[in-house]
Amino acid sequence: MTALSLFLILLLLLNLADANFFEASQAFLKSAFGGRKYAYLYVTISRCALITGMAIAALIAFRAGLINIGGEGQLVIGGFIAAFISIYSGVTGVAGITLAILSAMIGGGLWAVLAGLMKLKLGVPILVGTLLLNYPARYITSYFVSHPLRDVSSGMPQTHLLDKSLWLPFVEGTRLDIGFMFILIVYAFVLVYSYRTVPGYHAKMTGLSIEFAATSGINIFNTTLKTLAFSGAIAGLVGAIAVLGIHHRFTDGMLVQPLYAWTGIVAALLINLVPWAILPAGFFFASLTSGASGMERTADVPKEIAIIIQGIIILFVAARATSIASGSKKKEEGS
């Protein structure tokens, strides 16, 4: 029933854009997985890395009952810091890449911790605090790349290009940068963290019942800040990968417009916060986005169809699953 209604909505949307269903689906498949020398498939994989990364960032926080929907801000701060450090620190090569990634992770982590402190010290709900911090992140970086750090010769609000030695190298024989490997490492790390470690267990317990966790002697203050720092650091890492591996500079809006952070949240919700399933979910949404760009190119279907479909899928999933933060009581929504 759900699948049928989704299909009917899809047909209706395609009809509105005067597109042929078969032509559109062909374009979709080619652009998601095909292309000359699999060029499009590589794009899908590197997009999958970014989306999965943002999904992991969301998942870690949600599982601990922290509704961090400010991944976007943490992502932007991470990307901006990666570009800034790469261009102005003067460190090159592998050392430079390491430095850029670490500073991006610290930056993203601190941005999330800021929301955590506002919750713990001032009582601002995490949901609203993280969300509102998206905007300063967006506008402050926008200011820097439009004025003091702008590459004036390019005519766009963006930084200079990074030194070539800082670009993430391609995997042998492909056009795929090694950014996705970082995400695979994070994925493995998060699986171990969630299923096998004490901090991961504490975080999950806090998410299931904050009172129970507190009564059991878990330090809620520390768990909250650590979990947010972890979540924000991963978002920062994703920003660094996008800068070092794909764009090689920071352009205003380049991490906001593709809705990486929101797609990540949607992916985490789709699988009901089950850690191992996050990679397939990330790949699914990456293919959806890539395929939609292909439909825009060849069948003249606006690529926003991917956003609509994401929304509809989550609506139907929401109707089945119950709560955003695994099992947390309804009363704590928004806290």
Partner: protein, 308 residues
């Protein structure tokens, strides 16, 4: 310098900026007090703004535009109700989905139906009727705030007081408050909370649809992708800060209109655009911190959100 800042045009811009936020936060407040945690206001407004332009363009008159905006808002409200009330969807998840659908659908239809990307502008798009009030319009500064505004300005101010009256004096208001504060009490007097919440969502849809119409066919006569640009989130914050009480809400919205107009003005004095655009969000955060310190316990936890 002060005279440069606070002239009639400034007063006018305060009102124009305030109306969409006021309407959206009234909608949010209605949901909030009925115990529906609706943070999809952004998506609601966007649909309203687009429907207003589409309706005006297709049917040739602003009236139809406003009507389409209302219908689009109600449609979103019904979608919310279907997935949150009839099926057990989490309000936050449903909100995230509806925000995405609002953004995706308006951008998609802009390209697929109106055939442009980015901005849609057409001579056929008019503006909502503006009302000049004799005598008041000749008042200095205040005159351009109170007079010459779109009819939605007066409707929204009227709504604030109607809502205040309903919540404090009318049975319907008591029901709507009980649905949020104590659904069990509502059940004991024989009223099911779900229909009351549905009503709240529909009313919220109407308000947000009008907010969108004010944005696209009154403040300007065009539609831009993602036109709501965070106003829905500011409305959410205003609702949380005022706990959904109409009169304080009006005060806070006017304060926001003031801050926003001021920051627009400061842009003229050479402040970077990014800092002035950031001001409303910083102001929201400060307002929120202010109230949260007082009610440090838990803002949202005070109301029992459930599916009733």
């Amino acid at each position: 310098m002060l005279a440069d800042l606070f002239d009639p045009a400034f007063a006018d811009s305060v009102a124009r900026i305030a109306v969409p936020i006021l309407l959206a936060s009234l909608g949010g407040a209605i949901c909030h007090r009925a115990g529906v945690f609706n943070i999809a206001l952004e998506g609601f407004i966007l649909m309203g703004a687009f429907a207003a332009v589409l309706g005006t363009f297709m049917l040739g008159h602003v009236f139809w535009g406003v009507l389409s905006a209302i219908l689009a808002g109600v449609f979103m409200g019904l979608l919310f109700a279907e997935f949150h009330l009839r099926r057990p969807g989490d309000a936050i998840v449903v909100s995230i989905a509806l925000n995405l659908i609002g953004l995706g659908l308006t951008t998609y239809l802009l390209r697929a139906v109106l055939g442009v990307s980015g901005v849609f502008q057409d001579e056929a798009l008019g503006k909502i009727i503006e009302i000049n009030i004799p005598l008041i319009e000749s008042l200095p500064v205040l005159g351009s705030f109170l007079s010459g505004q779109s009819i939605l300005f007066y409707i929204s101010i009227f709504l604030v007081f109607i809502l205040h009256y309903i919540y404090s004096r009318h049975k319907l208001g008591f029901w709507m408050r009980a649905a949020g504060e104590n659904p069990l009490a509502l059940k004991t007097v024989g009223i099911k909370p779900a229909p009351v919440k549905l009503l709240a969502l529909v009313l919220c849809g109407i308000c947000c649809g009008l907010a969108g119409a004010q944005l696209s066919i009154s403040n300007v006569s065009l539609f831009v992708e993602n036109m709501s640009a965070g106003r829905g989130w500011i409305a959410v914050v205003i609702v949380l800060v005022t706990n959904g009480r109409p009169i304080p809400l009006l005060g806070l919205v006017l304060l926001f209109g003031f801050v926003d107009s001021l920051s627009l003005r400061l842009q003229g004095f050479g402040f970077p655009q990014q800092f002035t655009e950031m001001m409303p969000y910083i102001a929201s955060l400060i307002a929120l911190i202010f109230v949260s310190i007082r009610r440090i316990k838990d803002l949202v936890g005070m109301r029992g959100y459930d599916n009733g």
